[in-house]
């Protein structure tokens, strides 16, 4: 009876398990008519050598996605960009590995006080289920109308930049040239008037107006990048041939791409959500490349024959914020000299080497609160606060009493009646930050400042009772930005929506506001550089370092260039090729 029952169980499992092979049919438009990923995956060779011969690349993906329409709040995910967004939805400009916006879909583009003008490349076409459809100004207009639409607003990530354009006011010359005008009336916070300085980031992904005709923009592309007939659509070097949730994506070369013809015929993204599993898959040759979350477990891939380990400083700004508001438990943080002393007492280079070990590579302390070290305008304004405990002690001696007479001497300072004791907040479970806190606690203790641990879950740290509620003293966390200096405006300006430190300098606010409206790139950079120089004198925040962005790939796979922006290593995917 037991064996019969087991046999029945096997049959039941077999019957239920066949559900994985059901073909997805095109029920409603803009949902894929393609076969599930597993069927496409059927023909992918098992070994790297086999894939080389077949001109296929397998890329390990760290996260699954909720959809490919990254303009929507639900689906604004980095891996949605990586697994098809960047390859199939190209736009006016693309950010290269230096963070510079370079022309992509357009042959020329300019901005002035009246608006922005684009001239689309004459050979720019959509691939739509095998048909060639020209890219026209109507696609740009459609994109603007959908993102600026008040009806879509609640579902969108935001209207930043697009809100400055008036979708009802545009001119076009033929099908390939269009000018959009800045909004001049009906202005509001979400739809401001005037120029948007970071205009090159606009239309970095353009939607196909013809292919999406009749579709609800807030419901498209849940499991494909396709038109209203379910067929894949693309203006980039690849189109999304199929995607199956929980498994991966297959991209195929777009024969109509306007740029260099893609050298790799097919790129498969296979899900490895566990980083350790991803590492083993890379070691074992199950994947050809990965761009994983940086961590110590990547050490297993360093120095491995046949694998190239590359890492660059990412747009991941690990930093400290000091609470200068009345919500802080200690008013001493309102004094610049206390913040300066804390900065001087922290050995950032030592922390980097300790927490990252052999993976530290070229990671250096970051000395600018607005520009990343890989960006041309970067200046080491904060380098004046490099580790110098003797100097820190001298500052504290001048304002306080009762502390150590020499570095490591013991005792805690009392300044204007307040003890030099602060809460140190970080996201619980983050081992790197936990180790950082332990190191900093020891270093600051040596100069007479004490810390109490305040490790909290991420949803508390970033929730209304955490940092946004100004319920902290010193917090260590990271900001991830696009690399544009305007991203920092809300964090550093007086009463900024993301200004949780309470820092307020009218000069800095004015400079950043001016920079945000400045269309001259040289002057814009000068405005933001000046703002950073001022901030460095009072240390409202203290940059720590940029977390590295790794790219690990088979050495035979050429043409891959790491990129810290949201385009990732896929910015030049058409240039990848096997050595053979």
């Amino acid at each position: 009876m037991l064996i019969a029952g087991a046999a029945a169980a096997v049959l039941l499992v077999a019957a239920t398990a066949t559900a994985t092979t059901q073909r997805t049919t095109s029920a409603k438009g803009a949902e894929s008519a393609a076969a599930p990923f597993s069927q496409a995956w059927a023909n992918v060779p098992r070994t790297t050598a086999g894939r080389e011969a077949a001109n296929v690349v397998v890329f390990g993906a760290e996260q699954d996605i909720d959809g490919f329409n990254t303009s929507l709040a639900c689906c604004n995910e980095l891996w949605a960009n990586y697994m098809g967004g960047i390859e199939a939805v190209r736009g006016a400009f693309i950010q290269n590995n230096k963070g510079v916006w370079t022309k992509d879909l357009v042959s020329s583009a300019s901005a002035d006080k009246s608006g922005v003008t684009y001239t689309i490349k004459s050979n720019a076409n959509w691939y739509w289920g095998g048909k060639k459809v020209p890219v026209t100004y109507k696609d740009f207009l459609y994109t603007l109308q959908q993102i600026d639409s008040k009806a879509n607003f609640a579902s969108l990530t935001g209207t930043t930049g697009y809100g400055n354009l008036d979708p009802s006011h545009f001119t076009h010359k033929g099908l390939k040239t269009v000018k959009f005008f800045w909004r001049t009336k009906g202005c509001s916070d979400n739809y401001p008037c005037g120029a948007y300085a970071n205009w090159q980031s606009l239309f970095s992904g353009v939607y196909p107006a013809t292919a999406l005709a009749g579709q609800d923009f807030t419901k498209i592309w849940t499991n494909c990048i396709c038109g209203n007939n379910g067929q894949p659509v693309s203006d980039g070097p690849y189109y999304v041939s199929n995607y199956t949730k929980g498994q991966g994506t297959t991209l195929k070369a777009n024969p109509f791409f306007y740029g260099s013809k893609p050298k790799i015929g097919e790129i498969d993204f296979k899900l490895y959500t566990d980083t350790n599993t991803e590492v083993q898959a890379m070691r074992g040759g199950e994947v050809d490349a990965i761009t994983p979350t940086f961590g110590q477990n990547l050490t297993a891939l360093k120095g491995v024959s046949g694998i190239t380990f590359n890492q660059i400083p990412g747009y991941y700004y690990e930093h400290l914020e000091f609470n200068e508001t009345k919500s802080s438990s200690n008013p001493l943080l309102r004094s610049p000299w206390m913040r300066e002393a804390i900065a001087l007492g922290i050995n950032r280079a030592g922390i980097i080497n300790t927490v990252y070990g052999s993976l530290a590579g070229n990671t250096k302390p970051m000395d600018n609160a607005i520009f990343y070290s890989t960006e041309a305008p970067y200046k080491a304004d904060f380098s004046k606060w490099n580790y110098n405990p003797t100097k820190a002690l001298a500052i504290l001696k001048a304002h306080c009493s009762g502390g150590p007479s020499s570095v490591g001497g013991g005792g805690t300072w009392t300044c204007s009646g307040f003890p030099a004791k602060f809460r140190w907040t970080w996201t619980a479970g983050n081992v790197t930050r936990q180790n950082t806190e332990a190191i900093v606690k020891s270093e600051l203790h040596d100069i007479g400042i004490d810390l109490t641990e305040d490790s909290l879950p991420a949803n508390v740290v970033f929730g209304p009772n955490g940092i946004p509620g100004k319920n902290y003293d010193i917090a260590e966390f990271a900001e991830i930005t696009s690399g544009d200096p305007g991203d920092w405006y809300d964090l550093y300006r007086c009463a900024g929506g993301s200004n949780y430190t309470g820092y307020c300098s009218n000069k800095v606010t004015d400079l950043m506001k001016k920079g945000n409206a400045e269309l001259n790139p040289t002057q814009r950079i000068k405005d933001f550089q000046a703002a950073d120089t001022i901030m460095a004198t009072s240390v409202p925040v203290f940059p720590m370092y940029q977390r590295p962005t790794p790219l690990i790939y088979k050495s035979n796979l050429l043409g891959m260039v790491n990129n810290p922006t949201t385009f990732g290593p896929f910015w030049n995917i058409e240039g990848w090729h096997w050595k053979s």
């Binding site: 009876m1 037991l2 087991a6 169980a9 096997v10 039941l12 499992v13 239920t16 398990a17 066949t18 559900a19 994985t20 092979t21 599930p36 597993s38 069927q39 995956w41 059927a42 023909n43 992918v44 098992r46 070994t47 699954d64 959809g67 709040a73 639900c74 689906c75 604004n76 607003f153 609640a154 990530t157 935001g158 930043t160 979400n190 949730k245 929980g246 498994q247 296979k270 899900l271 490895y272 959500t273 566990d274 350790n276 599993t277 083993q280 898959a281 070691r283 074992g284 040759g285 199950e286 991420a458 949803n459 970033f462 929730g463 900001e479 991830i480 930005t481 991203d487 929506g497 993301s498």
Partner: protein, 321 residues
């Protein structure tokens, strides 16, 4: 028996309601479905506010629970709080994968566990008995995630050294789409072994202990005295009666298997229920998490009922009113 089953099902309904409310309370209070939106600097406060209003995130708990119940029954397991898409297609996709892995693991563990348990009992205190007793304790003590990672490393190292791919370390398929192909079995072998090890340890110990209890009973001694062959004594008299507690444990073990599947599927990146649950929990997608919990609660109740039915069948002395 039918009356008994009907009564058990009716008793299960308030249990389900109470457990669903408790689970909803813990999950809803433990996470912020808008958390990921808040952390995205591009998402405007207005979008977050609209999202919270749409899903009643600021309403009292009982109100939110009511809206979830409405969604659950109105949309076949409900809709996702994160994507707004129906949940049933996701579950229809992942359930067969989990059932395949769990079914195979349970089958292997049961066959091996029962066989080893029988032989250990018959050859009590032999070398075989000592070896498998030790292995059982090691297997039972081994953390699932540790074993999973270890197996991954071992088979990757085998591939690197001898260039022979025996098993894959992740995913469901590399080649072909058949569910019972060699390729699929190569992919799920390691997760199946991971889950089977602990269950095997449990079943072999229970079977051994149960066999030893029955072997020394009067009716077994009587059967031997009557001249019944030893084989017939073991398989006809001892085995069937010793199987009763194992059948009960097997049904009750289902819940433990599901929890083990969460870790195993996450480590091996198998697109199953456990993996899906972890992804949704990380996103604080309350409705998806609740759908998973309700499905598993129903499954545990059903398996408990099955355990009682099987128990009644195996032991004719048991009769349910």
């Amino acid at each position: 028996m039918l009356t008994y089953i009907a009564r058990r099902i009716l008793y299960s309904i308030p249990v389900l309601v109470a457990s669903s409310f408790l689970c909803f309370t813990f999950v809803a209070l433990g996470g912020d479905p808008a958390g990921n939106l808040r952390q995205n600097p591009k998402v405007t406060p207005q979008t977050i506010a609209a999202y919270e209003n749409h899903f009643h995130l600021h309403d009292p708990l009982l109100t939110r629970y009511w809206f979830w119940i409405k969604d659950l029954f109105g949309h076949k397991l409900g809709t996702s709080l994160v994507t707004g898409q129906p949940l049933w297609p996701d579950f229809a996709r992942v359930i067969p994968h989990t059932l395949q892995v769990l079914g195979l693991a349970e089958l292997i563990a049961l066959i091996l566990g029962v066989a080893v348990g029988i032989f250990s009992a018959i050859r009590q205190y032999s070398v075989f008995d000592y070896v498998f007793t030790s292995l059982s304790f090691v297997g039972y003590a081994m953390p699932t995630f540790w074993l999973a990672l270890l197996l991954q490393i071992v088979f990757v190292d085998i591939y690197l050294k001898w260039h022979v791919r025996i098993f894959y370390t992740s995913g469901l398929n590399t080649r072909g789409n058949a569910t019972w192909s060699l390729d699929r079995l190569q992919h799920i072998a390691l997760p199946v072994v991971t889950l089977a090890v602990i269950s095997f340890a449990v079943y072999s110990r229970y079977m051994r202990a149960s066999m030893l209890d029955v072997i020394n009973t009067d009716y077994v001694r009587t059967a031997r005295a009557k001249g019944v062959s030893e084989r017939r004594v073991i398989m006809r008299h001892v085995f069937r009666n010793a199987l009763i507690p194992v059948a009960t444990v097997m049904a009750l073990n289902f819940g433990a298997l599901l929890s083990g599947a969460i870790i195993t599927e996450t480590v091996f990146t198998l697109d199953g229920m456990g993996y899906y649950f972890i992804q949704k929990l990380g996103q604080s997608d309350v409705y998806a998490v609740m759908a998973y919990l309700m499905l598993t609660a129903v499954a545990v109740i059903v398996f408990n009922l099955l355990a009682d039915i099987v128990y009644g069948y195996l032991d004719p002395r048991i009769r349910y009113d």
